[in-house]
């Protein structure tokens, strides 16, 4: 029995922040102070607040330390663990004066409701015992021993769980289709090909709680009558793959995977397929093609995977987050899950909150909370207290929403109505210094590069939209381009084969809808209101403020600032590369861009 548990986050974020070194230092110090019998060190999965990593939580107090380097770790052991004095210096600071001691009191966590992320940050992902200790595999046992296949599906239907990968198709209904498909061989697939830039909820679950995925998939396989499964995980997630492999091996050792699980007739095995990282392989038909060893390209549906999927067999494919919710729904009942959320969108959703907010990271909130709550309360508001401008929701396939939409409850229906999508749950917050055309260009750059090249509207259309946007940001746009862009975007949306093409124009369409004035400023006034588009900004040295120190000239990489101590300094905007170094270097704030 340990008197204290030191939970050290070993997710990818904290890992690259130096968590391994910190863990070593803490372990060594504990040894040194002969505390090894009293204090346990537990490597855990992600806490979500990755920008604050490496994160350490000391239980039973629940003290939350952030940005802990090896020396800080030694201090925590000496002060907190040995002497019982918390290290206030390392605690999370809400403002200059107030530091928050406990995990639960953190505004970042207090609004959250963690179901899919329940065990992330609490248990050692490499230990099946800890998972079992947290009611792990109970749900599977319940299904296999006391529920029929129909009852499992019924429970899922009752819960109102919908596909968390982006589509939002009711999971119970999907399972029932596949269960009804005839045939002795069926497959279950976990889509872990998380490709949205900035989204990492699936990775966190795989790294922090791999057994919940295995359990969820086993329940799904039992419900539809499958005996074999694939986890399609991108090779860029080496830690997730490693932990999955460990987890699968442990589950096999414990008889929770393999032949005759829980002494029943249910047998189940899981394979891991490493994807090469194509975004389009997140599309289910492309993903299955990739598992089959073909080029990852979507094919038209019907036939749907539930009828003809992997190797032509009925297949049920769900996203990581969806699978992670399944054991909890079985354990607590469908009604419990359905008690959270809105009328149509039940339960919780994990969002990857990034961009210009004070606290970035993973947050799991009940459906129906407003964007304002997520951004302003959980995220702590806009970085440097600037003005909120927009939020891109749903990754490159989603849309940009404005301040007017901040009180929109987050649900599949409400977001779709506004032209955005839930997507996999990326939330990129933008402030007044973001140019919306630049944002749309960024996402289109991504989708046109990731288009598989199969269908002509997506392949050629995304490229043409990108070219037009690029011309606008360079100041070469024409007023008719707006109409042309709109027409093209609608065509690509309506005519593309798969979800990638059908949603690729969303960032463009929503920015055109909500930020048309910015497009017009770029085209008509040849001006970028956010001062981002380099083709449309000029740098000026104001002679009245300039003290002729010469720092700007010295630091200019393009050598385009001329002048000396006697004459005034002048920027040659023809040669200027708009890097902004001169503004940063000027001690007198004599240089401005407009």
């Amino acid at each position: 029995m340990y008197r204290s548990h030191v939970l050290i986050c070993n997710g990818t974020g904290c890992h690259s922040g130096g968590a391994t070194e910190t863990t070593e230092a803490i372990k060594k110090e504990i040894e040194k102070l002969s505390l090894a019998n009293e204090v346990a060190v537990v490597p855990t999965g992600c806490h979500g607040m990755c920008e604050m990593g490496p994160i350490i939580v000391v239980y039973p107090e629940g003290t939350f330390y952030c940005r802990v380097n090896p020396e800080d770790g030694v201090e925590i052991v000496r002060e907190h663990l040995a002497k019982g004095r918390t290290v206030e210096r390392l605690m999370f600071r809400e403002s200059e004066r107030i530091s928050v001691a406990s995990y639960k009191e953190l505004p970042f966590y207090s609004k959250q409701k963690r179901i899919a992320l329940k065990n992330c940050g609490y248990i050692n992902p490499d230990s099946i015992e800890e998972y079992i200790g947290h009611s792990g595999y109970e749900a599977l046992g319940k299904c296999l021993t006391s529920l029929t296949q129909e009852q499992v599906i019924e429970e899922l239907k009752k819960s109102g769980l919908r596909g968390r990968g982006g589509g939002g198709f009711p999971t119970g209904l999907k399972w029932s289709f596949c269960a009804k498909s005839p045939g002795p061989k069926k497959y279950v697939i976990c889509n872990a090909d998380e490709g949205d830039p900035g989204a990492f909820m699936d990775r966190s679950i795989l790294e922090g709680d791999p057994h919940s995925i295995i359990e969820g998939m086993a329940i799904g396989a039992y419900a539809i009558g499958a005996d074999e499964a694939y986890i399609y995980c991108r090779a860029e997630y080496p830690l997730a793959i490693e932990r999955l492999k460990t987890a699968i091996a442990q589950a096999e050792e414990y008889g929770l995977l393999g032949e005759k699980i829980f002494g029943t007739d249910f047998s189940f095995e899981i394979h891991i397929k490493e994807g090469a990282g194509a975004f389009v392989c997140g599309e289910e038909t492309a993903l299955m093609g990739s598992i089959e060893g073909k080029r990852g390209m979507p094919r038209p549906r019907p036939p749907f995977p539930a009828v003809s999927g992997l190797w032509g067999k009925p297949t049920n494919i769900n996203n990581v987050e969806t699978w992670a919710n399944v054991p909890q729904i079985i354990l607590n009942g469908g009604e419990w899950y359905a008690s959270m959320g809105t009328a149509e969108s039940k339960g919780t959703k994990v969002f990857a909150l990034t961009g210009k907010v004070k606290h970035t990271g993973l947050v799991e909130v009940p459906m129906g909370v407003t964007l304002r709550e997520i951004i302003m309360e959980i995220g702590g508001g806009i970085l440097n207290d600037k003005k909120f401008k927009a939020v891109q929701i749903g990754g490159p396939s989603g849309g940009c929403l404005t301040e007017d939409h901040l009180d929109t409850p987050v649900s599949y229906e409400d977001l779709t109505r506004l032209g955005a999508i839930m997507g996999s749950g990326g939330l990129v917050v933008m402030d007044e210094e973001n140019c919306m055309i630049d944002v749309a260009k960024f996402f289109l750059e991504f989708t046109q590069r990731e288009s598989c090249g199969k269908c002509s509207p997506c392949r050629e259309g995304t490229k043409q939209m990108l070219i037009m946007l690029d011309e606008i940001t360079k100041g070469n746009g024409k007023i008719e381009d707006i109409k042309k862009l709109e027409e093209l975007a609608l065509m690509v949306k309506n005519m593309s084969l798969c979800g990638l093409g059908q949603t690729a124009p969303n960032p463009l369409l929503t920015t055109l809808k909500y930020f048309r004035h910015e497009y017009e400023a770029h085209i008509i006034e040849k001006r970028c209101p956010a001062h981002v588009c380099s083709g449309l900004i000029t740098f000026t040295i104001h002679a009245d403020k300039c003290k002729r120190c010469g720092l700007c000239t010295k630091n200019c990489p393009a050598k385009c600032i001329s002048g000396d101590k006697n004459t005034a300094y002048v920027i040659d905007n023809e040669r200027c590369v708009k890097c902004g170094t001169c503004i940063d270097k000027c001690p007198f704030k004599a240089i401005t861009k407009e």
């Binding site: 038209p300 019907p302 090249g453 392949r459 043409q464 065509m491």
Partner: protein, 492 residues
Amino acid sequence: MIKLHFDGKECTGTKGQTILEVALANGITTIPTLCWLEGLHPEGACRMCVVEVEGSPKMLTACTSPAEDGMKILTRTDKLKEYRKQILELLFAGRNHFCMYCSASGDCELQALAIEHGMDSVRYPYLFPNIENDTTSSDFMVDRNRCVLCDRCIRTCQEIVGACSLGLEKRGWVTNVISDLGEKFGNSSTCVSCGACAQACPTGTITIREQAYRGRRKDCDKAVEATCPLCAMGCKINVHVRRNSLVRIDGVTGSKYADGGQLCRKGRIELLRASEGPRLTTPMIRSGAGFREASWDEVLDLITEKINKADKSKSGAVASLMTPIDELKYFAGFFGALGIKTDCREGRVPPEAKYVKESHVRSADDSINDRENEVNRMRSILAASPWLGVGSEPSEKEPVGKGMLSLDFLFFRTTGLVEPCVDVLDALDHSKFSVVQTPYISHPMAYLADVLIPAAAWFELAGICEPAVSIKEMCEVLESLAVRLAIKIKEV
């Protein structure tokens, strides 16, 4: 039986058919297609065949969507027309399509669609991508500037040919068709150069060199369905003819024949090449190292004289594997009547003739027993009958047979389409007097003959082209000889 409406017109189909299949079966022609090709799995890639269904917010690709009872399908709404035009403009802007320099101009499906949709300008900037062409193959050229990535070539190579040489490289707008994971076509280890991809190509991307200069399908006067004369497979071919000469040979695609229109390299490319060449127009007699023109009478008299003098047991007559069966019967009848012992039996082709016909496809199962039979047959042929097979290669398989080839008189009927084997040339070389009946003067066998008689080419015999020169048919020649020899041609 299901009922659908296309733009208000009621049509019937069966469950399991796609919307496009029902439309085509009912003569609806208002659904444009580009990546769809009869006989291949539909891909729904080009999106040209998209239609609207009343009551459904989604637009459906006709080529992949199953037809359902009661569907009210709209094929030419203003929205569809505009979208299709936009797609065409994108395709033209995306690559370097210059119709006036393209060998497929006029045959091109992309061009036809653009005209059909009134695409008079392209509103998007041309991308002018820098695209690598591949001219390494000796049989065809690939100009990816003209590619619309319809995947028809790839699917044909996979589903019909089974070679699976073709695939795609890269992603997005820089995607390209490649062979063997990026190997040049000329170095491909899987490509069988059958040219099926070129036939499937809707644009001028894959061009068969042999066809390129001859002209386009649209310039042809007619297309005749015939049987490939080159082997016993008897593939159906579609021969395009322009001003009485062959322009291209296509396989007959679609569901008409089970092979899906597959042809081999020989049938598609070599047959075309072999069909062209300087024609023998008049009989010729050897004169020193060359030949001189002669009259029919002079030639027939000379042959009569030589046949009369020859030892019949040391005479032979050979017909090419590809000689039409009717001619072959006449041929057997004539030489049988001459007293040259043949194995002809009434009412059927002599077994040797059959053997001759089959020898071409025989090598697949070359078991010992077969070889023995072959040797025995070979002996009987050489000892007792005028038959021997072109392509049977006795000098390699039955070397002893080579010595028996020294004949007093040898008559050869060749179609001039394939290179003769060494044995045939040996036989000609060793015989005291030889007659070669050939359509082409440049054929290697012609150089070794003592007398040359002009023959009709395969495409003339098959009725594809009018005879280019006035040539006596084989039966006419043999009848004239029979009169001179005072014999009666046997019925075979």
